[in-house]
C-alpha cells in the first residue's frame, strides 16, 4: 500500500532536518566568513597604511639625520668643533709623512728588513726598497681583464 500523509510514521525524520541545518549552516557560515574576511582585509589594509606612514616617517627622519651628519662632517663644522674642544689638531707637514708599505713576504732567499744593511734601513733606503719591490711586482703582475 502506498504511503500517504495518513500513513506516515510518527517518528521524526532527521535526514531532511539535518540537510536543512547543514545548508543553513553553510549559508550562514559563508556569510559570516565573508564578513570576517572583509573585516580582516580592511583591518590589514589599515595596518598596511599605518606601516606605510611609519616607513615614510622613518625615511624622512633618515634624510634629516643624513643632513645633520653632512652638516657635522662639513669642513667648517669640523673646524669649529676642533676649536671648541681645543684639540690642537694640525695638518701633517710633508716632512712628517713617510710613505712606506708594510713588509711584504718576498720570494725565498730574498733579503728581509732585518737582513738589510743599516744604510738601506734609513728612511730613503726603505722607500727605495718598497718602490723597487712594487715596480717589480707591477712588471711581473699578470695583465688585468
Amino acid at each position: 500500500m502506498a504511503r500517504n500523509r495518513k500513513n506516515q510514521s510518527a517518528a521524526v525524520r532527521f535526514g531532511p532536518a539535518l540537510k536543512a541545518s547543514l545548508i543553513c549552516l553553510l549559508i550562514g557560515g559563508s556569510g559570516v566568513g565573508y564578513v570576517w574576511q572583509q573585516n580582516q582585509l580592511l583591518e590589514l589594509g589599515r595596518q598596511k597604511v599605518e606601516k606605510e606612514k611609519r616607513l615614510n616617517t622613518l625615511r624622512v627622519q633618515n634624510s634629516q639625520f643624513g643632513r645633520h651628519l653632512a652638516e657635522l662632517q662639513s669642513p667648517r663644522s669640523l673646524e669649529t668643533r676642533v676649536k671648541e674642544l681645543n684639540l690642537g689638531l694640525t695638518m701633517a707637514q710633508p716632512t712628517q709623512v713617510v710613505r712606506l708599505v708594510d713588509a711584504l713576504p718576498g720570494p725565498p732567499g730574498a733579503p728581509h728588513w732585518g737582513a738589510l744593511s743599516p744604510a738601506a734601513l734609513t728612511r730613503d733606503g726603505i722607500q727605495r726598497q718598497t718602490e723597487r719591490h712594487y715596480a717589480k711586482r707591477q712588471t711581473t703582475a699578470p695583465p688585468g681583464p
Binding site: P75, R76, L78, M91
Partner: protein, 645 residues
C-alpha cells in the same frame, strides 16, 4: 464577485502604485541615464582619490662621498578656519612659536573667510596655508600641541555636538598638505656655492594634481637637473566616508623614482682650503673680486673652484646681488697679461722657432713697434734668454718671440690651447672669451698678444692651458662630474677624463716646465710663491684693465707642483687689487703658496724637495723597528678635517 466599490479602491490603489513606480522609474532614468555622467563623476570624486608620491631630488656629493647638497621632505601646514570657531587667538598662541610666526598675524590668518564661486554661491573658506617648509619634527610638535591644547571649558559637561566640535578642532583644524614639498639643503653653507648653484620651486601637474617641484637654476643643480630630478609616483585608490583609504580598492600604485646622485670631482677639503685662503687674500689685497681653481692636470679633474664675493645657496633671496651669483671662473673674461707668455713661448718652442737659450735683446725696457711703444713694466732688460723672458716676464722679449713665430702660427696655438672656445665644463653660463681671427688683427697685435693683451680669456681657460703644459702637452677637458649613481650608491654613468688634443710635444712641455720653475726662484717674478717641500712651476700675470692707464689691474698666478710630475695646478686671480700693490707675484703668489701648502698636506702629495736640515733618522736595528719607526701619517685624519687648525 468584486463589488464596484472594491474595484474602485483596487483601481485607485493600482493607479497609485503605477504612479509611484512611474515616479521611481522617472527618477531612475533621471539618475542613471540623464545625469549619469555628472553623478558618476561626483561619486567618483568623493570616493576615489589620487595620492602623489613625491620623488626625492638626488644629492650632490664630492669626490669622497661627502654630501654637498641634499633634499629634505618638508610639510606645508594649513588650517581650516571653519573648524576653529572663535578660538583663533588660543590656537595662534599655541602654535605661533612652533611655526616661528607672529601670533597676531597667525590669528588673522585663522579668521573665518567667505568666498563666492563662479556661480556666485557663497562658501566658507576651509583652507588657508599657514607656513611652508615645516620639518617633520616641527609638525609633530604642532600635532602634540594641538592635541593637548586647552580651551578653558570642561568638555565632559558639553553637549555631544560641542564635544565633536572640539575634537575636530584638535584633530582637523590644523593639517598638512597631502603631498610633501622638498627643501634643498646645502650642509656646507657657502662651500662651493658657485659650483653647486641653487634651485627654485616650480609647480607641475601630475595626474591632475599640482605638485611643487624643485628645479635647478644655476650650477650643477641646473646642468644636471634632469638627472637629479626623479619621477613622481602616484596611487589611485578609494576612500571611505571618513576619507580613510580603503587599501582593498587600490588600483594603480606607481612608486616614485628618486633622482640620481651626482658625484663631483670636487674635494670638500680642498674646496674649503681654497675658499678660506681666498677670503684671506681678499682681506689682504682688497680686490673687487677674487677667484681660484685647483685642478689635477693629468685628468682635468677640478678639485676646487671658488669665486668671491659669493652667496649662500641656503638663503637665496631676491635681494642677493647678481654679481655675487656669477661664477667668475667661467663667466668673466679678462686680458690675461703675462700668464699668456707661456702660450707664445710654448708655441715658439714647439715650432722650434726658438730654444730656451736663445737670446733676445729687450731694448732696455722700451720697444717701439707699429706706432706703439711697449714697456717692460719698470724694468730695463737688455739681453734675456727665452727662459729668462719667462722667469722675469719681459713683455718686449715675449713680443719679439711672437714676431718671430708669426701671426698664423700664434693664432693656431692660441686656439689649440682652448682659447676662444668653450672648455666644455658641465656648468651653465660659460663664455668663450674673445680671440679675434688673424684677419682682424691690428699690426701691433702680434706684439701685444704675446704679452696677454688684445684678447680675453676666462680663468678656467687659463688654468686648463697651464694644465696642458703640466700634462706633457695634452689639453684635458675640465672634469667636474665624476659619475652618477642611484640611491643605493650603484654607479649609473661614469665620466672618464677626456684628452682634447696634444697641443705641444712632451719635450716642449718639459722645456716650458724648466723655464717656469725659474719664475718662483730668486730673480723670478714670484719668489713668494715658492714652496718649501715642492718644486713649483708657474707664471705670474699682471694685466692692465682697459682703459689702459686707469690703474686697474688683473693680477694672477698659476702654478703646478711637483713641477716634473704635477699632482695639482693651483690658480689664483684677483680683479682690481689694491693699486698700491698689484703685481701677480705680490698678490696672487702668496695666496697660491698658502693654498698649495695646505692642499699638498691635505692630499698627502709626495714632496720632491728634501728639507734643508733634516736630522738623520735613527737607524733601526731590526724589521719591527723599521716598520714602527716609519709611521705614515693617516691621510684620513687630514682628509676628514681638511684644515690647518
Amino acid at each position: 464577485m468584486i463589488q464596484p466599490a472594491q474595484f474602485r479602491r483596487l483601481a485607485l490603489l493600482g493607479s497609485l502604485l503605477v504612479i509611484a513606480f512611474a515616479g521611481l522609474g522617472y527618477r531612475l532614468v533621471d539618475l542613471q541615464v540623464v545625469r549619469h555622467d555628472d553623478l558618476s563623476r561626483e561619486a567618483a570624486g568623493r570616493r576615489e582619490s589620487t595620492i602623489i608620491h613625491p620623488s626625492r631630488r638626488g644629492d650632490i656629493l664630492d669626490g669622497r662621498g661627502n654630501v654637498l647638497a641634499t633634499s629634505l621632505f618638508v610639510k606645508t601646514v594649513c588650517a581650516d578656519p571653519s573648524l576653529i570657531g572663535t578660538n583663533q587667538a588660543l590656537v595662534a598662541r599655541a602654535i605661533a612659536p612652533l611655526l616661528r610666526m607672529n601670533e597676531i598675524e597667525l590669528s588673522q590668518k585663522l579668521q573665518l573667510r567667505l568666498y563666492k564661486d563662479r556661480s556666485g554661491k557663497v562658501h566658507v573658506d576651509q583652507y588657508v596655508a599657514l607656513k611652508r617648509k615645516v620639518t617633520l619634527d616641527e609638525w609633530e610638535r604642532i600635532q602634540a600641541t594641538m592635541k593637548n591644547i586647552s580651551f578653558g571649558v570642561n568638555e565632559k559637561k558639553l553637549s555631544h555636538r560641542e564635544r565633536i566640535f572640539y575634537r575636530n578642532l584638535r584633530q582637523r583644524a590644523i593639517f598638512v598638505e597631502p603631498v610633501d614639498d622638498q627643501l634643498r639643503v646645502y650642509p656646507g653653507g657657502l662651500l662651493a656655492a658657485h659650483v653647486l648653484g641653487f634651485t627654485a620651486a616650480q609647480d607641475k601637474t601630475v595626474e591632475g594634481n599640482v605638485v611643487t617641484d624643485l628645479v635647478g637654476k644655476d650650477g650643477i643643480e641646473a646642468a644636471f637637473n634632469s638627472a637629479l630630478d626623479g619621477a613622481v609616483g602616484w596611487r589611485q585608490t578609494e576612500n571611505d566616508h571618513g576619507r580613510r583609504e580603503m587599501v582593498l580598492f587600490r588600483e594603480e600604485d606607481v612608486a616614485p623614482r628618486p633622482g640620481l646622485n651626482v658625484a663631483l670631482t670636487l674635494d670638500a677639503g680642498v674646496q674649503d682650503i681654497l675658499e678660506s685662503e681666498l677670503v684671506k687674500g681678499m682681506e689682504k689685497n682688497a680686490p673687487a673680486s677674487i677667484c681660484g681653481l685647483v685642478i689635477r692636470p693629468k685628468t682635468g679633474a677640478i678639485l676646487a673652484m671658488a669665486a668671491l664675493p659669493n652667496f649662500s645657496p641656503n638663503q637665496i633671496t631676491a635681494n642677493t646681488p647678481m654679481a655675487n651669483l656669477r661664477n667668475r671662473v667661467i663667466s668673466d673674461t679678462f686680458e690675461p697679461g703675462s700668464t699668456f707668455k707661456t702660450v707664445v713661448v710654448s708655441a715658439a718652442l714647439n715650432e722650434q722657432v726658438v730654444s730656451l737659450n736663445d737670446v733676445f735683446y729687450c731694448e732696455n725696457g722700451l720697444f717701439s713697434f707699429a706706432g706703439h711703444t711697449l714697456h717692460d713694466a719698470g724694468h730695463h732688460f737688455g739681453n734675456l734668454t727665452v727662459e729668462d723672458v719667462i722667469a722675469k716676464s719681459s713683455n718686449i722679449g715675449a713680443a719679439k718671440i711672437g714676431l718671430k713665430l708669426g701671426e698664423t702660427r700664434l693664432y693656431k696655438y692660441i686656439r689649440d690651447f682652448g682659447f676662444g672656445d668653450l672648455t666644455g665644463i658641465a656648468l651653465p653660463g660659460e663664455v668663450r672669451g674673445t680671440v679675434h681671427p688673424v684677419k682682424n688683427w691690428y699690426k701691433v697685435s702680434i706684439a701685444q698678444i704675446p704679452m696677454g693683451q688684445g684678447l680675453s680669456v676666462t680663468p678656467l681657460q687659463m688654468a686648463m692651458a697651464f694644465g696642458a703644459i703640466a700634462n706633457h702637452g695634452r689639453l684635458m677637458r675640465p672634469m667636474l662630474v665624476d659619475h652618477l649613481e642611484d640611491e643605493h650608491k650603484q654607479e649609473v654613468l661614469r665620466y672618464p677624463p677626456q684628452v682634447i688634443r696634444q697641443v705641444i710635444s712632451e719635450e716642449t712641455a718639459r722645456l716650458m716646465v724648466q723655464a717656469m720653475k725659474k719664475v718662483v726662484q730668486t730673480g723670478g717674478t714670484a719668489p713668494k710663491a715658492a714652496l718649501e717641500h715642492y718644486t713649483v712651476a708657474g707664471k705670474t700675470g699682471t694685466g692692465q684693465k682697459p682703459p689702459y692707464g686707469s690703474h686697474k689691474y688683473f693680477s694672477s698666478f698659476i702654478g703646478f707642483f711637483p713641477a716634473d710630475d704635477p699632482e695639482i695646478c693651483v690658480s689664483v686671480f684677483l680683479d682690481e687689487p689694491d693699486p698700491k700693490r698689484y703685481y701677480g707675484g705680490e698678490t696672487a703668489g702668496p695666496v697660491f703658496k698658502t693654498i698649495a701648502e695646505r692642499a699638498a698636506a691635505y692630499l698627502a702629495i709626495r714632496p720632491d724637495v728634501a728639507p734643508p736640515s733634516e736630522p738623520p733618522p735613527k737607524q733601526p736595528s731590526n724589521q719591527a723597528e723599521a716598520i714602527a719607526e716609519t709611521v705614515v701619517s693617516n691621510p684620513l685624519t687630514t682628509a676628514q678635517t681638511g684644515r690647518d687648525f
